[in-house]
Amino acid sequence: MSMEIRPYLLHALSPLHAGTGQSVGIIDLPIARLRATNIPFVPGSSLKGVLREARRSLPPAEWEALFGPLREVSGAAGDEAREGDHAGALVVGDARLVALPVRSFLGTFAWVSSPLLLELARRDLAGLDGLPGRMKRLPATGARVGAGSITVSPKQRRLLLEDLDLDAQVEPAVDAWARFLSRTWPEEEEGLRERFAVVDDETMSFLLETATQVETRVRIDPDTGTVVQGALWQEESLPAETLLVGVLAAGRSLRRGTELSATEVLERALKGTALLQLGGKATVGRGRCRLAAWPGVSREARP
């Protein structure tokens, strides 16, 4: 069966808290990360649920063809074969971090990525026109920036992030990546190019731990106006302007009586998709994201 694949860019407009709900560390509510690499991500299941809700206006038959029928009882208990059961035609992949905005002494902040993050993104983006080649690993601690970067110091070309100073060299591949990512976001191309930077993988894993947004929140007792004993917690999120990459895929509809091609499934899933709310803490404005697919379609045959 042939699958149609459409990679997308997820751009956080407000802090994004895709959390784990619990922790044993200092941060009470940390964000979800991939286990082996510690890279922050938004699970595909989370995004699929949000898309399912956002597409309520579709005709019920099409809605079910796209996302699959809802179980009567959720969880393992409801996992029983029923008449007319079918899988949803839409496949939603995880959205993985590709560039983290890190505060910078010059230029306010830099969109920081690393060879590993870009290599993982390249897998998702394979087959798209103009995809930049493999980014070489940096031999030592340091950074690569584009030609017109506003985040490096004028003479010694140093990138001053948080409390790290990194020697930066200009590399055309960085510009190529910024241009490529901004194809989903044309009006911001210049802005992305002048702030895009690639650091070595070790520095990146340090930044993934230390450069996320951590807010301390409290609950105040209305009677006393002071913080309730024990009602202070720390909450981690990906800061506004974070960029993540993921893949949407679709096959033809598997629902009996509803004929939809893979292209039609993707069209319906993405129709008018621009703004979604993802992750937790929605009522205090967390997780407002812009989702945009790369123009142009790539096909892939599944054995």
Binding site: L13, S14, P15, P101, R103, S104, F105, L106, G107, T108, F109, I150, S153, P154, K155, Q156, R158, L160, E162, D163, E188, G191, Q213, E215, T216, R217, V218, R219, I220, D221, P222, D223, V228, Q229, G230, A231, P239, A240, E241, A274, L275, Q277, K281, A282, T283, V284, G285, R286, R288, R290
Partner: protein, 368 residues
Amino acid sequence: MWLMADGEDRCPETPGQVPSHAGLGYTRCAPLAVLQEDPAARKRWLELLTQCREPARYSQAYRRWKESFQGPDTLCFIVRAESRVLVGHGTSSATGVGLTLHHTWGVPVLPGSALKGLTAHYVQTVYGPEPGIEDPEREPFRGTTWEFSRPSRAPGRVFRRLFGSPDVDELSEKGSQGEVVFHDALWVPAEMGSGPMLARDVLTVHQRAYYESGGREWPVDFDDPNPVSFLTVAPGNRFLVVLEARGERALLERAGRYVREALESWGLGGKTAAGYGRLVSETPSLQSSRILETPALMELKTWLEEQKARNVGQRQQFQQVEQQWAKRLLALSMPERHEAIRLFRKFLNLKRGDEQQRFEELLTRLRA
């Protein structure tokens, strides 16, 4: 924390450079002398941070944010800080007094959680029932009752819809999410010639030994004053408040009114008892909550009240308005004229005939 020795600069090539990210400058690097409590160094450093300006391309990001909110499900209005604003003074910084700024852009921000918390507190105190008194009219505005860290009683109907409710026990309704989203209120990019984003502030502790010992040492007159300086958001800065509720316009407007009232009369963030955090809506609301008090208006109001107290008929009252007031009011400034219209609407209620028409004409002339 990056500690800078005397005279050292974070970026030695550009000595004295203002950090382009105020939040980074405030929380991640400080001159060593600041930690050693050298007041002159502290002053110099904070003065440097108050020179932080709008970051490059912030206005583009702000426009993008603003344009992403459209349609009947959202309510946007701009509030202006009448006084200094200090949110997040409990978070860490080299001065010991923190300040919440936008993580990525380093500009001031009013966090959505602060707006929601303030409004919830305001609604339950002002509109909700007094503690221990059952009042059916005020019951819908009751807030959640907490016992230590556990909810013990579910909130009233309106409160639940606005702010949500936790799971309480098996008897009451299940927990639910609030229907209104309180977004972070982003800083509105400065216009040409407007003031700074941040300002240095001073608080002077007079009886330091008394406070630090927890009351074991006596406060005495010959204690040295102890000035503590820190950063606050300067008055005059403007913020875009955005509320969102799906398909619930009436609820949304109600929430908007509460946010406005709470920001104006209670204030947001810390030190509100000292007048901090007062923010006033710039977009004229449906009912203007600010009452102008100029001599002419006061006179008009007193006169209208007198007429009411003496039970003068509506028609007769209006004839006197035409004779005594019309000319005078038309010479007033625009805001005063609007306030006069508001007063007339409140006190005069002409039901029919020639007078009603003339009354409407007068109001139109006042509005023009």
